[in-house]
Symmetry: C2
Subunit: 186 residues, 2 copies
Amino acid sequence: MMARIHKKLRQEILKEKIDSNPFLTDGELAVLLNVSIQTLRLDRLELGIPELRERTKQMAERAQDKLKAIASNEIVGDLIDLELDKQGISILHITPEMVFEKTQIARGHYVFSQANSLALAVIDAPTALTGVANVKYKMPIHVGEKLIAKAEVIRKRGNKSFIWVKTRNEKQEVFRAKFIMVSLEP
Amino acid sequence: MMARIHKKLRQEILKEKIDSNPFLTDGELAVLLNVSIQTLRLDRLELGIPELRERTKQMAERAQDKLKAIASNEIVGDLIDLELDKQGISILHITPEMVFEKTQIARGHYVFSQANSLALAVIDAPTALTGVANVKYKMPIHVGEKLIAKAEVIRKRGNKSFIWVKTRNEKQEVFRAKFIMVSLEP
DNA sequence: ACTGGTTATAGTAGCAACTACTAAAAACTA
DNA sequence: TAGTTTTTAGTAGTTGCTACTATAACCAGT
C-alpha cells in the first residue's frame, strides 16, 4: 500500500485543489489525491464543498452579479438626489477593492470618479465632457466609510458649466473639486 | 390545439428567454414556449445553443476571467517605463467599457485614473496619497485609442512631490495633469 | 492478542439533464 | 392528394453526482 497521508492533511489539500481549479470532478480529484472516489466524496461532504455542477452554477451566478455591479458604474456611487442644472448628491461606499492593501486608505481615483460622475449627472447635457478639474484631497479616506458627495452648479456660460463638488464622510469634508464641464452639442 | 407560432419566431423567443435567464432547463423552456421537449431540443440544436450545464460552465469561466482582469487594476494602465522619483510612462488602451455609449468618448475618470496611478507609481513612497490634482482635458478621446501617459517629478519639498503628467494619443496631447502627492510616513 | 473505533473502499439504486437515435403523427403546401 | 416540413413520442445511453449499505483495513489501548 502507498504511504497514506492523514485525513486532515488530505482535506486541506483537497480544499486547495478545488480552490485553484473548481472545475475538477470527484473522479479527477480522487486520482490526484490517490484515494477512492467514495473517500473523496466523504471528504467533500465533511468539508461542506458542493459538487462540481453546484460549484459551477454558484460561480456563474456570483460572477454575473459582480460584473453587473461593475457594469453599472455609469455613475460611480448611488445618485440619491438630483436637480438638473442645480445640484445633486451621491453616496459611495468604500469597499476593500478600492483601498491600498497596505494602508487601507482609498485610492484617489475612486473619490475623483464619484465626484466627476456626479458633476456630469447634474448638468442637463447628453454630450458633456470634463474640461478641467481642480481637486483637493483633504483627509485620508478609509475602508468602510460612506462618502457623500454634493455637487452644485455655480455658473453656466455658453457651453461651459462650472460645478463644485464637496465630499464628506460621516464627520468632515474629505475632498473638494471644481469642474468645468463642456458640452459638445452643435 | 393552441395557436401555434412559426418555428422562426419561436426560435427568436427562445434566444431571448435564454439570454435573459440562462439557467432555464429544457423542460422549463418547453413549458414557456408551449412545445414538447423534443421540439425545444431540436430548436436549441438548430440555433447552436448548448445545454444548461454547458452554458453555466461557460458563464463561470468567462466571468472569472473578466473579474481577474478587473482585479488587476492596481495601476490603471500598463507601466512600461519607470525611474523612481524621476519619470514614468504607462499605456492605457481605451476599451468599449470605458466610453459613453452614445458618443463613444472616454469617460474622464479613466484618463484621470491612469495619470493618478502613474503619478503614485513614480514617487518612491510606500504610503503616498494624492493631495491636489489640477487636470485639463484637451481633446475628446475615442474608443480604441491608446493613451500614453508620461509623468515627470518636477520638485520634491518635504513630504510633498510635484508631478506633471502629460497624456497623448497617437497624434497629439489629449490630457494634462499636475499632482501634488503627499507622503504620510513618519 | 483481542476488541473497538476510526478510516477507507466497494457496490447498488436512483436522479437530473441531458445526447443520439428511430419512428410516427400532424400540419402545411404545391 | 401526395409530398414535405414540423412536431411529438419513446428508447437507450451518458455524466456526475446523492444516498445508502456493507465490508475491509488500520491503529490504539488494555
